[in-house]
Structure formats: C-alpha cells, structure tokens
C-alpha cells in the first residue's frame, strides 16, 4: 500500500495504537513506510488494528503493554530494539481521561491518571531516548490536551498530567537536542475517538459540536496528521514546540 515514503525504513512505537488518535497515527506511519509497533494494554483491539494495517500492506507488530508498569515499558523498548535494531520514532498517544470533579478526585484516581498520562510518558521517553542517543537521532511526539491550557471541568488531575507533559517536553527537548532528538507536543481539541463515541450519545456529540469553532468534532486522523508531521524530517526545525489541532477553539501562546 505504501502511499508515501516519508518513513521508509524507520521504526515507530505508537502507544495507545489500538484506538482513536493512536490507531490513526499507527495507520498513517505504516502508510508512509514505517515499521510500526502498536503498544497498548488492549491486546484484542490492537490485533484488529494491526490486521487492517497489515491487510493494507503495512508492516506492524503488537506489544501488549500496561503503561502503568515500569517493567512493561523497559520490556517494550528492549524487545523493539532487538526485533528491529533501531527506534526512530516514539509517539506517546495513550492516556486515560476519566471524569471526576476536583472535590471528588481520590488519591487513587489521581495516582492512576498521573501514572499513565504523565509518569509513563516520562519513563518510556527515557528508555527510548537511551536507544536514540546511541543512534544520534530520533523524534518523539507527546500528545497533550487543551486541558493543559484552559479549564476543563471534571479533568483536574488530567489537566495536571497534561500540563506537566507540556512542561517536561520543553526541558527534555533541550537536554536531548545535542543528540539530534526532537521532542514536540500535539494538543488535540475535541476528537471523536472510539472512546469518546462510546461515552457520548450522538445527540450530545452534536450538541457539543455546535459550540465548536469548526462546528464539528475532529476525526482522529486529523490529529494524527500533526503527529506524523512532527515526527517527519519536514519538521526538522521544530523541537520543544506545541501544535494545537483544535479548529481554532482556543489559542494558547
């Protein structure tokens, strides 16, 4: 199928590749010639995504990974390095986003969100960067959220994780620049991913769409385009940067 060749010969790990924005990113990378590792806790869904990528002619493997386990992260990186001998791209897309008011957020809920949405990104990036430093090249894209920049009721712990993700990306980008590793952020707006569609009725999706600048939700593919762009050599001038993909709903600095 390879429609493009932007990533010929490159190896890309996509966390959360079984669903939504991660799924769309995995397909796009594969479409452009990358060998893709779908790293997800939902192995069944991950396999179905992998099958459809493989049917279209893409090269893909599935790694069942629970991002809340540091040993899973290390194992993912070791196995990928062994299998392919290189890791060129890491897209940190997976996250959980359960809703709870600030006053009702328990320490357990806080820990779970911070573990998956922030700590896992930190340590997976560290483990992958070890390989990228040896290669003296690499591109990492972290997926944040509008919640990093503006109030989203019910998302206080999540906004802490995503805000932290944006902040740490800058410092990591600075430290890794000398190894020609670029680290950037994509901050998606309202995206009608599988999880979002499962949680909301079509009526409430439509009602919310009326309040959006573009009058509609983003498709996961539209956010994936920005992830793939930042991972490509066309973005060689970008590091420590944030691309907001939200149709103009809000415009942080």
């Amino acid at each position: 199928m390879s429609e493009g060749t932007r990533f010929d010969g490159e190896v890309a790990i996509v966390t959360g590749g079984a669903s939504g924005i991660g799924r769309a990113s995995a397909s796009l990378f594969a479409n452009e010639g990358a060998r893709v590792v779908i790293a997800d806790v939902d192995e069944g869904k991950a396999r179905r995504v992998a099958e459809s990528i493989a049917t279209a002619g893409g090269e893909v493997v599935v790694e069942r990974v629970d991002l809340s386990s540091l040993s899973d992260l290390e194992a993912l990186v070791e196995r990928t390095a062994e299998r392919f001998g290189q890791i060129d791209i890491l897209a940190n897309v997976a996250a959980i986003f359960p809703s709870a008011s600030f006053m009702k957020t328990s320490p357990t809920a806080w820990d779970r969100i911070i573990d998956i949405d922030l700590k896992a990104v930190f340590f997976l990036t560290q483990a992958v960067a070890r390989k990228m430093i040896e290669q003296n090249r690499g591109a990492i894209v972290n997926v944040a959220s509008g919640a990093a920049f503006r109030p989203v009721p019910g998302m206080s712990a999540y906004s802490a994780a995503k805000g932290g993700l944006v902040a740490m990306t800058r410092t990591i980008a600075h430290e890794l620049a000398r190894y020609h590793i670029r680290v950037n952020v994509v901050a998606p707006g309202h995206t009608a991913s599988e999880t979002v569609r499962a949680q909301m009725s079509q009526r409430s999706l439509d009602a919310a769409a009326d309040g959006l600048m573009a009058g509609r939700w983003l498709e996961p593919e539209e956010t994936a385009e920005a992830i793939v762009f930042l991972a490509s050599s066309a973005a060689s001038g970008m590091s420590g940067a944030v691309i907001n993909v939200n149709g103009g709903d809000f415009m942080p600095h």
Binding site: H180, G189, M213, F229, G237, A241, N244, V245, F250, M251
Partner: protein, 247 residues
C-alpha cells in the same frame, strides 16, 4: 502533490524564507504569485519555479501601502482565477536601541511588518469568502514573545501580527478560512546576513537548538500548516526554532 491546482500568494518571495516557501509550493504543484518589493529577485524565484516545471508570476508590491496589498490579492485572482493560500512572509528587521528609534523607523517597520500583512489578510478574506475557503499563514518572530535587544519596533509589529492573526482566525473560521502563525527562530537568510555579524553553521551535525534554521525548514512548516492535512489546525502558533527559546 499537495497543492495541485491551488493558487498561492507568497510575499517576500524574492529572498530567504519567502523564496524557499515559494519554491516549495511550486514543487507541490501550486500556481504562485511571487510578490516582493524587489521585482528582480521575485523574477529570479519565478524563473526557478518555472525551470522546475512549475507555474508562477512575479508581482511588484510595496506592502507598506494598503492599496498595493489589496491590488496584490486582486492580481492573484486576475491571473489565476482564485486564491487558496496567502503566505505573508515579507518583513524587515532593522536594528536600533529603543532611544534611537526615529519616527520614520517605527512607521516603516509597522507599515511593512504589520499594516501590509493586515490589509493583505483583509483582501484575502474577501476573496476566500467568495469562493468558500482558504488559508492564511502569517510569519511572526520569536521577538513577539521575548525581549531581543534593539528590536523594539519590530517586536511591536510582530506582536501585533500574532494578535491580529487570532482575531482573523476566529472571524473567518465560519467561512472555511484558517489562519496560522509561524514563528521562526534565527534563520540563515540573505536579509539576516546583510545585517553583518557571523552566522554559525546550519548543518545537521549541529543540534537544532544551537544552529540557525535553514529557510527551507521554515518553509516546510508554512506549507504543511496550509495543506489539507492540517485542515483542523487554525489559530495555531507554530514555533520553528529548533528548541532554541521555546517561548
């Protein structure tokens, strides 16, 4: 090719980032109005585009005039019968410590770097509304966000351009028009070299945050954020500084 059949205006197309941008749009199949106050250099850009099999017309414009900014947009529509992208790249960046900034200096910088792109946007929004959509890309500067000495007037203009861009993005979204702002870091261009001083190596062996950007690296981001793949990127700031400042 991402821009087959599309019509693009690039201002400042005679040099630096503007020339690199025009050449890249050319490679992507666009028909280009290469606008510059220096018609000779715009003509050279056009020759290069045509030499590579592309389609382009040079256009003389002094962006410090509202009337000329408007006629530039009209010319594109006259030549090519539509307008899909306006890339406001032209800019001047004369240095002066704040106590030495004359009224002429301030007026000229605000006219070229803010008023020109403002009225070009205005005319482009009109044309794009009539045809149901389009994309505007403004090129600002990191000096809109941090204090770079001897750039007081320039910072005012670029800060203003960033602010104007947000408003246009909000007003025009309902007409299918997007506006994004690209924020280059230090870029190795003829304009910058003409100011003197030494420009260090830009090659890939230097980490991005230590080297100067190449004009082509800025052009890639301008072209991407105006492409269909970035269809939901609107009102965004795209920093292309290799992680030099990150603010």
């Amino acid at each position: 090719m991402r821009f087959s059949g599309k019509v693009v205006i690039v201002t400042g197309a005679g040099s630096g980032v503007g020339r690199a941008t025009a050449l890249l749009y050319g490679k992507e199949g666009a028909r280009i109005l290469a606008a510059d106050i220096d018609e000779g250099s715009a003509g050279k850009t056009v020759e290069k585009i045509r030499g590579a099999g592309g389609e382009a017309e040079p256009f003389h414009v002094d962006l410090s005039s509202r009337a000329q900014a408007h006629s530039m947009v009209e010319a594109a529509v006259d030549f090519f019968a539509r307008l899909d992208v306006l890339a406001n790249v032209a800019g001047i960046y004369p240095r002066a410590p704040v106590e030495k900034v004359t009224e002429e200096h301030l007026d000229r910088v605000l006219a070229v770097d803010l008023k020109g792109p403002f009225f070009a946007c205005q005319a482009a929004v009109r044309a794009m509304k009539a045809q149901g959509g389009g994309v505007i890309v403004n090129v600002a500067s990191g000096t809109a966000f941090y204090g770079l000495e001897e750039h007081a007037a320039y910072s005012a203009a670029k800060g203003g351009l960033v602010s104007v861009g947000r408003v246009v993005a909000v007003e025009a979204a309902r007409h299918g028009i997007r506006l994004n702002t690209v924020v280059p870091g230090r870029t190795d261009t003829p304009g910058l070299r003409a100011r003197g001083g030494s420009i260090p190596e830009t090659g890939d062996t230097v980490p991005a945050n230590e080297r100067w950007m190449r004009p082509e690296e800025i052009a890639e981001v301008i072209v991407w954020c105006s492409s269909d793949g970035a269809g939901m990127v609107n009102g965004a700031l795209l920093r292309v500084d290799g992680g030099w400042k990150m603010l």
